[in-house]
Amino acid sequence: MSGGTFVGMPAFPAAAREAVGDATLRANLRHATHTIRDKRARAVAELSDWDRLREAGKRIKDHTLRHLDHYLVRLEESVERAGGTVHWAADAEEANRIVADLVRATGETEVVKVKSMATQEIGLNEALEAEGIRAYETDLAELIVQLGHDRPSHILVPAIHRNRGEIRDIFRKEMGHWGRPAPDGLTDTPAELAEAARLHLREKFLRAKVGISGANFMVAETGTLVVVESEGNGRMCLTLPETLISVVGIEKVVPAWRDLEVFLQTLPRSSTAERMNPYTSMWTGTTDQDGPSAFHLVLLDNGRTDTLADEVGRQALRCIRCSACLNVCPVYERAGGHAYGSVYPGPIGAILSPQLRGTGSDIDASLPYASSLCGACYEVCPVAIDIPEVLVHLRERVVQGGEATRGGNRVTLRPAKGHAAERAAMRAAGLAFARPGALRAGQRLASRTRRLHPRTLPGPGRAWSATRELPEVPAEPFRDWWRRTRGGNSGGTTEGSDR
């Protein structure tokens, strides 16, 4: 089982319908996404060169992806020169095995973890549990999720669906099973809840011998890894243990030290709307007497090379996981993160999950429809991923089938059953149209600013963009797509559909 696929997860429309009916969830989400959205706009407006930073970020990532083998090999050399050990994992199972073996070799049965999408994606905690190793999540939100036997619903604020009363109840009920219990008389003020978490986790940090992390960036030139965070739990896990194991997707590499100047400006402002997040840690291999004496880097594929093989879809690998696209998405705002059935929710999840996992399951086949194609996600994306373009591309693949790469091999996908695709599309449409005003506003905004979007790559990048001319945004509004493929006089049935 791939840890990222939640067992028994219904297709997006079914899960979304349920979520839309949950008034508490919707209120929590609406408050949260609107707050971050407004703050983000102000933080971005402070930088007069935002568009140039965005374009530079896009090109750095594109260039890296075009030469990924070269930069991975260079990264490996740099990390090993600095005293680290590099491991490669083609899939989740291999990665989990490597990590479990490394932990076992230390003789420890407990590890502390920094929040990491890659380790969630591969289901590392569950895999370690099966080996008798307990992994403690140390990010406050991840702690809430872990104690609540829950799943994360937002990239940046994983417990965004929980309000303070729910969090207090979870702490009171569960903390004692995992370590230091919640203090008597714990109230639901955020300060008291944070204090309870501080005390609960501190005893774990101070005795931990093994830390596990992901990374936001890896610099090929120097072998430096970068972790960006707010609470200090990252610093605890990265510096106090004797052994540090970082599991990182191969797309997180950037060529040069200097490239960090772009992303350290765009990432915090896009994600938490801050000029800079409270803590950023950078380490290169191991340092005598400072921090872990053993450092292991596990480079994870798990569907990334399959995504890379898709000329349209590979741009999803530029993502720096800032979560800005979630916060502006009208569908996410109503459906919530769980409806996406993956650790990657929201617009980026709708294009990343079906590429990493393939479109074989109901949930993955329906994800390309989990959008109104309003284009707001593209507007905010700090690396200019054209999410609507990829959505349309994936819809075509679901409906028409065609060539794709799975597990490193070329395969020919059969078209989805007509009825399944139709149902998925219908329900997603109903959801998006629950508030047509918001949808139209989004489309208008996108078309107004569309001139400003980078459209072709200059220099050596031109060859690539020449073969994949970026479509207008929205590439194809949902209504048009529907009319073209299903509804109107232009054919009525979908090409390749087997009905």
Binding site: A32, T35, I36, S48, D49, R52, L53, E55, A56, R59, I60, H63, H67, H70, L72, V73, W88, A90, L140, V157, A159, P190, L193, A194, A197, R202, L206, R207, T222, E231, G232, N233, R235, T239, P255, A256, W257, R258, E261, L264, Q265, T272, E274, R275, M276, P278, Y279, T280, S281, M282, T284, Q289, D290, D301, T305, L308, T405, G408, P460, A463
Partner: protein, 220 residues
Amino acid sequence: MSARDRVLGRVRRALADVRADDVPADDLAYEQAVDRGYAREHGERTVTETVDLLAENLADYRAIVHRCTEDEVSDLLMRLYAERGAETVLVPPELPPHWLAAADPVRVHDRAASTPHDLDRVDSVITGCALAIAETGTIVLDGSPDQGRRRITLVPDHHVCVVRVPGQVVASVPQALERLDPLRPLTWISGPSATSDIELDRVEGVHGPRTLEVVLMSGE
């Protein structure tokens, strides 16, 4: 076949379309692929204005900012520790001795044998820094002897950081990266530890120090 060969083989096959028309990866190709025409600094400021902006942005993220001359620093630090009632203070190996000449707390040194629990019992830590970034309100530590190991600024609840102004102040993130050595372990700190995980209310101090005091010390 090793996992390494399998992954690299998949990457190369996935890029067959690129290989057909592309130049090989080298530093020149990379330079041409990325336009660095973004700003090295946002806005025009005098040196004094840059330091003021640092103070403003530090305070905006709830660090407590003090200013003094080199002559005044020991009195200022004495006062800060007295007000807090701090009895012990962690000191990096080569902190300028006169900074703490007037302060009362017992100096504690970070030894190889000291455990995180030992550090947890200390009231405060004092360090210098590698540099500070005005536009973002960030101090950067690089483990130099006046800053010590990463863990000493993490475990105690109170961190006092002395920044020499204007010499250690840069305007922007690009200027900071130019001056830093990637081979050292680096910690960038912008305000005290904070979380917004509970209904997006900002709460200071989950794991790192809950109070960050920055002393902008002039006199170079």
